[in-house]
Each structure stands twice: as C-alpha cells, then as structure tokens.
C-alpha cells in the first residue's frame, strides 16, 4: 500500500467517525435527549422525524460504511463501501440543499408578496447548516479518489 493510500485511509477513517457521531447526534436530538443544538455554523434542530431520525440514521450508516471500508481503500471492493457511505451523505445533503432552495423561493409567511426578494433568497443560504451539508465538501474528496485512483475506469 502506498503513502497516498495510507493518508487516505486515515482521512476516511476520521471522516467516517465524525459522520457516524453526527448521525447519532441527529437521532438523539430528535429523540429529545437535548434541545436543538447550534454549534458554530452547524445546527441540529431535531424537530422533524423524516429529516432528523431517518436522515440521521442514513448519515450514521454512511459513516459506518466509510469506517468499514477504510482498512484497505486500494481494493475496489473495500473502496466501494467507502463510496457508498459518501453517497448516503450526498443524498441527505442534496435533500437539505434542495429544501433550502425551495424554502427560499417564496417570501415569508407574513409578507404580502409571494416571491422572495433576491437578497432574501441569497440570505436564506446563510449559516447555520445541517451536518450533512457541512460534511458534503469533505466527502467529495472520496469522489476525487474514485477518479484519481482509476476505479472509475475499472468500473
């Protein structure tokens, strides 16, 4: 195994662990262990079952898959687990971003107009973000490995 694979292994293990923890926290907040959490630019509201309990489970399993495949990332079978784990995070992040876009198109409930202003639309993308959205750029590195290591050509 070369040095690049070793570094990637550590990176994926750390990312998998953080992803698992955040997925678990999503579920715990939804259950009611604590009220909504806001930490820096991250927010876990825990108010909706589908987003926080179900979405949290998907993120948790994504992290678990990354962890289970990180031992031998040079092997295509192991790497496919890592890629699948990242894809699970992408699904939840894409749902979150799509929800943000949809929420920002109409104006507020009390506003007389239907459509949001441009500033209101852009301002709606300001922090805080859900954990999956914050994890998204870090998981894109896995997509880079997929192409850089030639797995894309093999598949």
């Amino acid at each position: 195994m070369n040095t690049e694979h070793n570094t990637a292994q550590i990176y994926i293990a750390a990312l998998g662990l953080v992803t698992m923890i955040l997925g678990l926290v999503d579920i715990l907040v939804w259950i009611g262990f604590t009220g909504g959490i806001e930490f820096g630019i991250m927010e876990i509201a825990g108010d909706d079952f589908f987003r926080w309990a179900w979405g949290g489970l998907v993120v948790f399993l994504g992290g678990a898959l990354m962890l289970s495949g990180c031992r031998n990332v040079g092997n295509i079978q192991e790497f496919s687990k890592v890629l699948l784990g990242a894809a699970l995070v992408w699904i939840i992040a894409a749902c979150d971003i799509f929800a943000m876009i949809c929420e920002n198109i109409p104006a507020g409930e009390e506003a007389p107009e239907f459509l949001n202003s441009f500033a209101g639309f852009v301002g709606g993308f300001a922090p805080p973000y859900a954990p999956a959205v914050i994890l998204l750029p870090f998981t894109l590195v896995i997509a880079y490995f997929f192409y850089a290591w030639g797995f894309a050509d093999e598949s």
């Binding site: 209101g120 852009v122 922090p127 973000y129």
Partner: protein, 264 residues
C-alpha cells in the same frame, strides 16, 4: 311518578353538562393556536404552564369546566409577554415574579394566581406575588366570584392594565391592552349579558360574536399588537454575505462536477 323524576333528573343533568362545557354557551371553539408555554422554576422543578393549564384551572375554580374565555387568554398573553420582556431567555423562579393587575376578571385573576402559585388548590413549593389593584388605586383582596363580578360590572378597555415585576432586580414592565381590540359596545353588552342579565336576544347574539372575535384575536395576534408597552421586534436583515458565500461555493462545485463528467 318515578319515571317523571328520572326524566327530570336527566334533563337537569343535560342542562348542567351544557354549562360545564363552556362559560359562554353557543361560543365556537377556540382556534387551535400553538402558544409557547410559560416556563418557571418552582424550587428546583421546571414547570411549564400552557394556556390549556390555565383554562383547566379557571374551569376548576369556577366549577364550569375548562374554558379559554377572553379574560383567560388576555391574562396568559400579558404574563407571557411580560416575563419574556423581563427575563428574555432566562427561566424565572416563581418566587421572583410579581404581577399587579388592574383588570378585575376571574379569568385573568386565576391565571395570575396559577402563575404566581398564590391560588387555591394548587401544588407548589414557592409563591410569587399577585395583587389586584384597580385603576383608581383600590386594592381588592376578596377574590370571590361574587365580589369580582360586582366590581367588573363597570370596567372598560382602560382597565386592562398589568404590571409584571422582576423582584430580584426591581425591573418592571407596564402592559396595557390595546383598546382597538375591543368593539366599541363590548363592555356595555358584556354588562347586559353577564351582570345585569337584561340583554335582548339580538344583543346576546351580538355579544357572543364579539366575545368569540375578541378571544380569537387575543389568541392569534402578536404581543406587540395586543399590548402597548411591547415593541415590535426589528425585522432581521437577510445575511446576504453568508448566503452568497455558500451559493458561490455550491455553484462552483456543481459547475466543476458538470465539466468533469462531460470531459470523461
């Protein structure tokens, strides 16, 4: 004879049930509005007081069943707005809360007794302070239904004033119900229907409509529209910079992804 007695008893029971269900027979049910409960510490115990708790307590004290009558709603909204203005995100100790009301009505009076823990038939560890001092400065200590009803016969919109005090700091807030919320003839009709009981059927119906409209307005209007003394919170400016950064990065990633996929 026995059959007649049974029939009479059934009729009486049916009549009692009707009065038990609502203080104002014929009034439409209150709209289902989510109001944040008032949170206070009673000793070390966190207590959440919702509008439903107050309606239930009012019903228990009057023996007429739970009721979200306008006075209960107004009392709750005043206490909630006052505590929120004085404590912000902090949760107050029950013993730190003092409420002075100039509004002699059983609904708001029992709200404040419940919140301060000074009412009868309550399970509490600590008590705050509640005083009923009329607009002319007279302090009322007899909180019996008969006495309050007698005093409330001549009230008007200017009597709906409340002072909430944070005793530990001495800070206080004066709240006066916005007079616009009351139709001009509301208190005259109220007196005829509820006190002197000489209203015509038309007047009773008109009062019922106004009663429902007042209760619904008190439940649904924001605090700064209900009370003088509460400022409307400033509208938050959208964070265009923060949102712009996110959108730029997102568009950049999407564009890069499209280019890479096309090249492949």
């Amino acid at each position: 004879m026995r059959a007649r007695l049974i029939l009479a008893s059934l009729l009486m029971a049916a009549l009692l049930c009707t009065t038990a269900m609502a203080h104002m027979p014929g009034a439409a049910p209150a709209p289902d509005v989510e109001l944040r409960p008032i949170q206070i510490y009673d000793g070390n115990k966190l207590v959440e007081i919702s509008i439903d708790d107050l309606a239930a307590y009012h019903g228990k004290c009057t023996g007429q069943g739970p009721s979200k009558c306008p006075c209960v709603v107004i009392g709750y909204r005043a206490a909630e707005a006052g505590i929120n203005a004085l404590y912000g995100d902090e949760i107050p100790e029950r013993s730190d809360i003092m409420i002075i009301s100039a509004y002699p009505s059983m609904g708001s009076l029992q709200d404040f007794q419940y919140i301060t823990g000074t009412g009868p038939e309550m399970d509490y560890k600590e008590t705050g302070t509640f005083n009923l001092i009329l607009a002319d400065g007279t302090e009322i200590t007899d909180f019996s239904n008969k006495n309050i009803k007698k005093i409330s016969g001549n009230i008007g919109p200017d009597d709906c004033k409340f002072t909430i005090i944070r005793e530990s700091t001495g800070k206080s807030i004066d709240l006066a119900l916005n007079g616009d919320i009351f139709p001009s003839d509301y208190f005259d009709l109220r007196k005829k229907v509820k006190i002197t009981k000489n209203a015509t059927p038309e007047e009773s119906q008109k009062f019922l409509d106004e009663y429902v409209a007042l209760r619904d307005a008190a439940l649904t209007k924001p605090a700064w529209e209900l009370f003088k003394g509460i400022d409307e919170p400033p509208e938050e400016e959208p964070d265009v910079f923060g949102g712009g950064i996110f959108l730029s990065i997102f568009i950049l990633f999407v564009a890069a992804g499209i280019i890479i996929i096309r090249r492949k």
